[in-house]
Amino acid sequence: MKRLSTFLPLACAILLAVAGPELSPYASDFVVKVMILSIFALSLELLVGMTGLVSLGHAAFYGIGAYTTVLASGNEGGSIATLLPLAMLCAGGYALVVGALSLRTRGVYFIMVTLAFAQMAFFVFHDTDFGGGSDGIYLYIRPVLGALDMENRLTTFYVVLASLVFTYALLALIGRSRFGAALAGIRVNEQRMKAAGFPVYGYKLAAFVIAGALAGLAGFLLASRDGVVNPELLSWHNSGDVLLMIILGGLGHLRGAVIGAVVFTVLKEVLSTQAFVGPLADHWQLTLGIAIIAFVALLPKGLIGLAQRISPRATA
């Protein structure tokens, strides 16, 4: 059944690649948004699901990736080839600093220290003019690379899809590698890992930086798509939302992160759209809240648990 877990995501990716040009502008936009969020969620899954490090400051890296893209583009625009690595580098760099300091703590304290560092970044963008202040800043010309121009909807679609496939594949590789095995060990029993001879701190820091850089990638894509960035991107609400997505999807599975991102976004979209739910759309908070509560009550292992319950053998 191992095959299914590699086959299914691949099939989805191919399906998306084929369907891309057929989508209406809005649908394509929506899919791109969901894919960006999936990358963001996957990057957090590396921390939470795979390493057991619950971070409530992950949006900082996402936001830094986005701001880097905009600030480095200036008024003339820039190349994907420089902007993308730069966004990942800046996000990863901040993750290095944050990780190095916050990994001294654990559990809820870790959650709160990551939150603290994210809030610091948030206030730097919100309260100073460096990034345009609280109203944010525009990206006047979207990144390009030769014929690839993010101004073009389809280009953006494929760049984002490729990034998603890359992220998913990278994390899947990590998951089955020795690095991933060590991270899993750290999640379950850090004490034993140290006793066995693993430099646990180094492993955790590496995971933290990779996760930060991948969040930066998502941030780059977001900025390229939206053409505007705002301090709210770094806010704790955003960190919280992405955390909710991966919990909803089911921790410990890459598919869970993607499913969570998709379901959370689609659910909200559906519940707040009059065309689908009529006047109830005005009360989307109520319906979404009830839906979430129902999920928690009925699906102890997240949405991925639902799939497992339907076909217990279908998961490896």
Binding site: L170, L173, I174, R176, S177, R178, F179, G180, A181, A182, A184, G185, V188, N189, Q191, R192, M193, K194, A195, A196, G197, F198, P199, V200, Y203, A206
Partner: protein, 248 residues
């Protein structure tokens, strides 16, 4: 003969409490060195300091003549200091085999090689297999560790220590919770291992200790009150009143 691990005047304080005070002892290859002593004497604390889990307040630890007092736990483990825990410390969600494979993996970490499958690492698998066989867990290798009975978990605890292929074994009550059969097996295993390893054995099972130990150190309230061969310890009046009682 040179000591593989030598400990001099090791001390650990917890606030006002001196849990281990001025302990000096040597571990040699080919020897099982038992450390016994009252509950709360500081035996586990001693092991914690030797393995690097907690820092020593004072004193020195040498491995092969090299000072390792300030080395991190992971570095010590990789240079050959292995330990088991008194309180079972396993990966309950993983299978028994995976538990050992993960421990063995520490020897060949290569974390950057993400294209390699951890489960297919032959060196780790081999080490894990050996350790499981030695500990008598081969037939439950594919059970999830958390569902083992208490006794089997204790066996796994020792197996994980063995899987890292240490030169020095620090075993904190490995026999606790094991039945008679498993105890025998474990003692036979230690007997076999001691040729190549230096073993520090903390244990309250006196029958076992006297059966296997080549040297015994007795601790009470953090301090060593006696050290010597088993016969002399058995006769030591102080040890009898403080620890052994009249049964042994």
């Amino acid at each position: 003969m040179n000591a593989l691990l030598s400990v001099s005047t090791l001390t650990r304080r917890f606030g006002g409490l001196v849990a281990v005070s001025d302990v000096t002892l040597d571990l040699h290859r080919g020897e099982v060195h038992a450390v016994i002593g009252t509950n709360g004497a500081g035996k586990s604390t001693l092991i914690n300091m030797l393995s690097g889990e907690i820092a020593a307040s004072a004193g020195q630890i040498k491995l092969d003549g090299r000072d390792i007092t300030r080395r991190s736990q992971a570095m010590r483990a990789r240079s050959g200091v292995g330990r088991s825990y008194q309180r079972t410390t396993i990966f309950p969600e993983f299978t028994v085999h995976e538990n050992c494979r993960l421990a063995a993996q520490a020897a060949t970490p290569r974390p950057w090689a993400i294209w390699q499958n951890a489960g297919a690492c032959s060196a780790s698998n081999a080490a894990a297999g050996e350790a499981l066989a030695a500990a008598g867990l081969a037939d439950v290798a594919h059970r999830v560790a958390g569902t083992l009975s208490h006794g089997a978990k204790r066996q796994l605890e020792v197996a994980m220590c063995l899987a890292t292929k240490p030169r020095v074994l620090l075993l904190d009550e490995p026999l606790a919770g094991m039945g008679a059969e498993e105890t025998d097996r474990m003692l036979a295993l230690l007997e076999k291992l001691k040729a190549e390893h230096a073993i520090l054995l903390v244990e309250h099972d006196m029958d076992a200790v006297f059966r296997i130990a080549d040297r015994i150190t007795v601790m009470v309230n953090g301090a060593v009150i006696a050290s010597g061969d088993p016969a002399s310890i058995r006769e030591n009046a102080q040890v009898r009143t403080a620890y052994l009682g009249e049964d042994h």
